[in-house]
């Protein structure tokens, strides 16, 4: 029977990994994800898992070892943050291009410089074009649930892509929550045995070449195949989310809406800040304001039609970005949503706020102010600034 346990986001993910029991993991420490592999290492040391833990000398080697291990023919997981993810950058693309369903827990943290260990989304947002499926989590429960589902999504024969499961550094990774944990047997049955649709390296009777030189005559076909695979992953995310719902009582879709159906003003918020936003939505609803929230779960692939359909009836929305895309016309999340709504028959007024960089707190009053601005825009039909930093010294 599933049971309620108090644990941090990191410990929740480590426990999901214990239950998944991957064949190989790589470990290299970086705050705030360190605790995941640290906790997992105690499972290894105490025989709670069969995993061969490769304690590499860098994140680059961590992802390289994961690539070798996955191509060898088994289930592989890993965790990192910020600069660690940045050091893996080259290998992220190679994992995806080789169609290896590695699962990586990304505990979101600000990228240097200046060096900062706290949560923002600059790490995973920077990796958004690497060909990885990206799932985001509001809290430890979702991080736990996403970790388990990530295995099934990435390994699905219609997908065969690596999956990045993200949660906010410190805010979630280091905060203790009551979460519901499935039985070990339930998880092992849900993820099943690792299978590969093509010969693996350890199948020495069927020698396969991984990572060949691919020139003008075939490279594009392979990239097209990758493109189709990640597009098709949306369907698999939904299937797996539904099946997981039957198992756990928690069904997952592409995103969560909160009082959005009839909303006139809405925020789009990723990860932990969505929880804070819900408080303000409730407050505004009590005052008779039709406020709502959309919390994306799946960012890659970006289900643009579904996102547009969910937001098209709003009068004004604000996309909240916890990362900047320096020099662009807004943060990374904003650009995607703005593009998604371009073809909608009716589209809301849209603004973008950059918030929470380097772990800067986003308080209730900060969110109140954003809704107030949206209400004003909805009435006047005009926006103020298209995008700007908030909660920052001017």
């Amino acid at each position: 029977m599933p049971k309620k346990v108090a644990m941090t986001g990191n410990v929740a993910v480590a426990n999901a990994m214990r239950q998944i029991n991957p064949d190989v993991c790589a470990a290299y420490p970086i705050t705030p994800s360190t605790e995941i592999m640290q906790q997992f290492a105690t499972f290894v040391s105490n025989g709670k898992v069969d995993t061969n833990l490769v304690t590499v000398e860098s994140e680059h080697s961590a992802m390289s070892a994961c690539i070798g291990a996955c191509a060898a023919g088994g289930r592989v997981m890993n965790a990192t943050s910020a600069n660690g993810l940045a050091l893996m950058w080259e290998m992220l693309y190679i994992a995806a291009g080789n169609r290896l369903p590695i699962v990586l827990s990304c505990v979101n943290r600000a990228l240097s410089a200046p060096i900062n260990i706290h949560g923002d989304h600059s790490d995973s947002m920077g990796a958004r074009d690497a060909g990885w499926i990206q799932l985001y989590a509001e809290n430890a429960q979702e991080a736990y649930d996403n970790t388990i589902q990530a295995v099934r999504i990435g390994e699905h024969f219609d997908v065969r892509l690596p999956v990045m499961s993200c949660m906010d550094g410190f805010i979630i990774s280091h905060s203790i929550e009551n979460i519901e944990v499935l039985d070990d047997d339930q998880v092992r049955k849900f993820v099943g045995d690792y299978r590969s649709p093509s010969p693996v390296l350890l199948d020495t009777d069927h020698p396969a070449t991984y990572g060949p030189l691919d020139l003008q005559d075939y490279y594009m076909e392979h990239k097209k195949a990758e493109h189709e695979a990640i597009k098709g992953a949306k369907k698999v995310v939904l299937e797996v989310g539904k099946e997981y719902g039957k198992l756990s009582g928690r069904t997952y879709g592409l995103f969560e809406t909160y009082k959005l159906k009839d909303a006139e003003v809405a925020l789009v918020v990723l990860n932990s800040a969505a929880g804070t936003t819900k408080v303000i939505v409730d407050e505004l609803r009590k005052k008779g304001v039709k406020a709502g929230l959309l919390k994306p779960r799946l960012f890659r692939p970006f289900p643009y039609a579904e996102y547009a359909a969910a937001l098209k009836n709003c009068s004004a929305i604000c996309v909240m970005d916890r990362a900047d895309s320096f020099g662009a016309a807004g943060g990374p999340l904003f650009s995607e949503f703005r593009s998604a709504l371009y073809d909608a028959p009716s589209r809301p007024l849209m603004i973008n706020k950059i918030y929470g960089l380097g772990g800067r707190d986003l308080g209730l009053n900060d969110i109140r102010k954003v809704y107030a601005e949206l209400i004003k825009s909805a009435e006047s039909g005009k926006i103020g600034k298209l995008y700007e930093y908030i909660t920052v010294r001017q």
């Binding site: 064949d23 061969n52 080697s61 191509a71 023919g73 088994g74 199948d203 020698p207 990572g211 075939y218």
Partner: protein
């Protein structure tokens, strides 16, 4: 361990097939074929980005008749670590045929090993994976067009330290990778050369019988980068050994043994330098000091290898000056 007889070896299947696109006269595929021929067990290969990789795996073709993975330039050792880790894991869990033994080899050029891949190699050696790392050392980044690496010999003309009116080729001596590897205290490390095929293949067989990390540094002449003829690879390998530029030795559990000592045929380094176009500026009268310096580097290195040998072999002492006529 199979006995190395040419007749029997000629009947074995080549696991790197012909038809690949390595340059005519390249030393690297000779090295690879000798290694693969020496091993009887199934082998999985990881390869760093470089000539060997790009010229043997042009999609949709592959020259490899063994499972092969290339992932990037600086990480062949980390990649094979992962492959070997999966093998150990599946074996322990009973998910892999119980009696089946697989061998793991990573190949990298000198750029991918001495330079960009050094950290990855060091990590894999320290962790003690059961694999063999082969560095085929042709003394520069040949794949990208002959740029200097930390394995490039002193004075060599490369495209990033071209011999000009002020700079006379590479100003620095080469890094001693084999000694760096030895500092990891792994069970087996060796230097070899493709002209001495029996020595090379014997070392591979000896290494493969040992569990844990193994390393071989193998000289692999590159006629494009060395500016030599396409039929020079074996002759230049031999000269590299007889000049003591490339001593043949092995280190087993810390015990160093010189496998071949040039005595009567000990040759001054100029004999190896002269046929190579990359050193032609060293023969200008004003650069005579560079030839002397090069010889000094070679002699110093030989003395240090001999010292390691003599320290390990009290009953078999070598005189480092033997055969020296200059």
């Amino acid at each position: 361990m199979a006995v190395l007889k040419l007749k029997e070896l000629s009947n074995k299947q080549d696991l790197l097939t012909g038809g690949h696109r390595m340059c005519a006269g390249c030393g690297a595929p000779i090295v690879v074929r000798q290694i693969l021929l020496a091993i009887d067990e199934p082998v999985v290969v990881a390869n760093a980005t470089g000539c060997l990789e790009v010229a043997t795996t042009i999609f949709p073709y592959t020259a490899w008749k063994v499972p092969f993975i290339h992932s990037a330039f600086e990480n062949a050792a980390a990649t094979i670590s992962g492959v070997e880790a999966m093998y150990q894991s599946l074996k322990k869990q009973g998910k892999y045929p119980a009696g089946k033994k697989v061998k793991f080899i990573a190949f990298g050029g000198d750029g991918g090993t001495y330079d960009i891949g050094l950290q990855s190699l060091s990590g894999a050696l320290e962790r003690g994976h059961d694999f063999m790392y082969i560095c085929y050392d042709n003394g520069a980044y040949m794949n990208t067009g002959i740029q200097r690496s930390s394995a490039t010999p002193f004075g060599a003309d490369t495209t990033t330290c071209p011999a000009g009116s002020v700079v006379q080729g590479k100003p620095q001596n080469r890094k001693d990778l084999t000694k760096i590897v030895m500092a990891h205290n792994i069970p087996y490390a060796a230097q070899a050369s493709p002209h001495a095929w029996k020595d090379l293949m014997g070392k591979v067989q000896k290494a493969m019988a040992i569990e844990g990390p193994k390393f071989m540094n193998i000289i692999a002449p590159c006629n494009r980068g060395w500016r030599t003829q396409t039929n020079d690879a074996i002759a230049l390998s031999k000269l590299a050994v007889n000049t003591n530029f490339w001593p043949l030795f092995e280190v087993e559990y810390g015990k160093t043994t010189i496998n071949y000592q040039p005595k009567k045929n000990r040759t001054p380094i100029v004999q190896w330098l002269m046929p190579q176009g990359r050193f032609k500026h060293l023969f200008k009268p004003e650069n005579e000091w560079m030839l002397a310096k090069f010889q000094e580097y070679v002699d110093d290195n030989w003395r240090s290898v001999v010292k390691m040998h003599n320290d390990s072999n009290p009953g078999n002492q070598i005189d480092p000056e033997e055969g020296k006529t200059w």
